[in-house]
Amino acid sequence: MIEITLAADVWKDIEPGTEALVDKWLVGEGDSVRAGQPIANVVLVKTNQEIVAPVDGRIEKILVRREETFAQGKAIALLKEST
C-alpha cells in the first residue's frame, strides 16, 4: 500500500506547525487511477496545489476528507498499486 502525501519539497520554507487543507477530492475510494493523474487539490499558504497519483492503482482509502486539515508528512489517502 502506498501512502499519498503532499511532497516534502512543497513544505520547504513553510513555518513549522502550518497545516494544509484538502480543498477537493478528484477521485473517490475504489476508483482506479493512472500514474500522474491528479487525485486531489490541497491548499497550503494560499497555494492551491495538485496532488497526483505516483503509480497506477486503486484508491483504497481516503484518510483526510474535504475541508479537513493535515500536517506535514501525514498521509491523506492509501493507494493500492496495480500488479
Partner: protein, 206 residues
C-alpha cells in the same frame, strides 16, 4: 492584467460552502465568483488591479520553494508602486510575526486582505496593499495578485459575507495606493506599468 468595471466577490476555497447564503445576501450588488487559488474572499472592483502570471515548473522566477514563488511577484509589485510614489515593500516570512504584532487589529481569516502571508506587499505600518495567491498544476504555476489602487468598499464585502463587525478591522489592516500617494492613480496606468515590469522581468529570465 485585469481592471474591473464593477464589484465582484471572489470566494476562496473556505467560503465556497456558504455560497448559497452569500448569493442571497449579495442581492445584485456585486457578481459572485469562485477561484481555485488559495486564500480568503476578495472584493474586486474599480479600486483593484489584478495580475495573473503563468510560469512553467522550474522557471527561475519561481525560486526553489512554494513560498519563494511569491518573492518575485511581491517585490515586482513594490517596484511598480514606487513608480507611482507609493512607499511599499514585500514582506519576508520572518517579518510576519512582527507585522501582526504591530497591527492594531486582529486577523480576519475569511478575507484575503484580513491577514498577511509571505511576500505580500505592505506600507510602513504593515497595512496590506497587495494580496498574492497561486495555483499549481502539472501544466505550470499560476501566480495571481490583487492591488488596492483606490478605496475599497469594505462595507459591501463584510455585509455580503455576513461579518459587518469586521469592516473597521479591514480598514485598519489595509491601505490604498491613492491614500499613500496622496493623489488619484488610474488603475489602467498602474496596470500598464506593472505589465511592463513583469514583461521586462520575464524577458530577463527567459
Amino acid at each position: 492584467m485585469w481592471t474591473h468595471r464593477s464589484p465582484a466577490v471572489v470566494l476562496g476555497q473556505a467560503q465556497r460552502s456558504l455560497r448559497h447564503v452569500i448569493e442571497q445576501r449579495i442581492d445584485g450588488r456585486a457578481e459572485l465568483l469562485d477561484r481555485e487559488a488559495g486564500g480568503g474572499a476578495v472584493l474586486t472592483g474599480p479600486w483593484m488591479v489584478s495580475a495573473s502570471v503563468i510560469l512553467p515548473h522550474g522557471h527561475p522566477l519561481l525560486g526553489d520553494s512554494l513560498v519563494g514563488c511569491y518573492r518575485w511577484l511581491g517585490q515586482l509589485h513594490a517596484a511598480a508602486l514606487a513608480e507611482f510614489g507609493v512607499p511599499a515593500r514585500a514582506l519576508p516570512a520572518q517579518s510576519l510575526p512582527l507585522a501582526n504584532a504591530r497591527i492594531d487589529a486582529r486577523t480576519v481569516t475569511w478575507a484575503c486582505f484580513g491577514g498577511l502571508s509571505p511576500w505580500e506587499v505592505v506600507d510602513a505600518g504593515f497595512r496590506k496593499l497587495v494580496g498574492l495567491a497561486q495555483r499549481r498544476r502539472q501544466a505550470g504555476v499560476l501566480l495571481v495578485a490583487g492591488t488596492l489602487v483606490g478605496a475599497t468598499d469594505w462595507r459591501l464585502l463584510c455585509d455580503v459575507m455576513g461579518y459587518p463587525q469586521d469592516e473597521d478591522i479591514l480598514r485598519r489592516r489595509t491601505a490604498s495606493c491613492e491614500e499613500l500617494a496622496g493623489r488619484t492613480i488610474e488603475p489602467e496606468a498602474f496596470a500598464s506599468a506593472l505589465a511592463r515590469l513583469i514583461g521586462n522581468s520575464l524577458a530577463a529570465n527567459d
